[in-house]
Symmetry: C2
Subunit: 182 residues, 2 copies
């Protein structure tokens, strides 16, 4: 049974990130005694009229502030798929790189989940509708309403996914997907 995921450590803080250049959602949860609660969530932003180098600096500094405030044990992100709009995908990927870098500079491991894994972990059904995921995020975290905007809710969903999966079987380090041969 060596492939079995170990039980998550008590009191684990997980930061979920939904990457973007204009808006980057973040959600911080505390996983303790089999339950999760939201510690912090919101959206980091950058001004569309600013040069990209300035926008990335702004996001980096906000990310550093979130890390400093919440001191997570791990960072989780959704895998990106941008087959329809490569240009958008690359702009988002640049911002994503900044978030992953900030995690790395803080010495944190970064985990990546496919959208189907997030849906499966949150609702038990990999093809779940968006609304089902939102409803479950609200229920799982005991929130009075679905966090807005979507970036924030998506960030909490991927943090919850990491909590559910425990960094084990479904979790994969980013390098397993992306890190070879480039």
């Amino acid at each position: 049974m060596k492939d079995k995921a170990p039980p998550a450590a008590p009191g684990k803080v997980i930061l979920g990130i939904d990457p973007g250049l204009a808006r980057m959602g973040y959600g911080v949860i505390l996983q303790r005694e089999g339950r999760c609660r939201a510690l912090d969530y919101g959206t980091m932003t950058s001004a569309a009229r600013a040069p990209v180098e300035k926008r990335l600096v702004d996001l980096f500094e906000q990310m550093r502030a979130v890390l400093k405030k919440n001191k997570p044990d791990a960072v989780a992100l959704e895998e990106l798929f941008f087959s329809k709009n490569v240009k958008t995908g690359m702009a988002v990927s640049q911002a994503r790189g900044v978030a992953v870098l900030a995690a790395g500079l803080a010495g944190l491991p970064v985990y990546e989940y496919r959208p189907v894994e997030v849906k499966q972990a949150i609702t038990g059904y990999g093809q779940a509708e968006k609304q089902q995921v939102q409803k479950m995020v609200k229920l799982l975290l005991g929130l009075s309403e679905v966090p807005k905007p979507d970036d924030t809710e998506d960030a909490l969903a991927v943090a919850l996914t990491h909590a559910q999966v425990g960094g084990g079987t479904l979790a994969r380090m980013i390098q397993a997907n992306q890190g070879r041969g480039f």
Copy 2:
């Protein structure tokens, strides 16, 4: 004639970057009195077996060292096109974001050129062959041989492009291409 590019300032140092996750080429040139010479060039690397967050940290630190050593006035990169391999494009874009961030943290403007603009600026012909570009980079910088690997030569080529274009008509800030609406 307000669209005309102003003459480049004397003694301008330009850092060209050819982004990548495993290898990121850099080339530093000094543009003075209408001529360019190479100050420094080489390749930043990250270990394929390391987690991506560690690889991005490694590239970030090497980029910071290059900036600290050479104190450029501007940074130039080629636009990325990855219609064939989106996954590779995203991994490279993440690394690219780290390079752009490092430039932004150093307070430097970042300029982006399309491959056709690089070929046009270096050889006078936008559809030039790779070998023609290499030969011209060698000639323009008075080098005894074509810098290797290709990442390094490509980095010098985009730095030379910025020197030729002077940050004016052909140069476009990254945000003009990528920064809207994401």
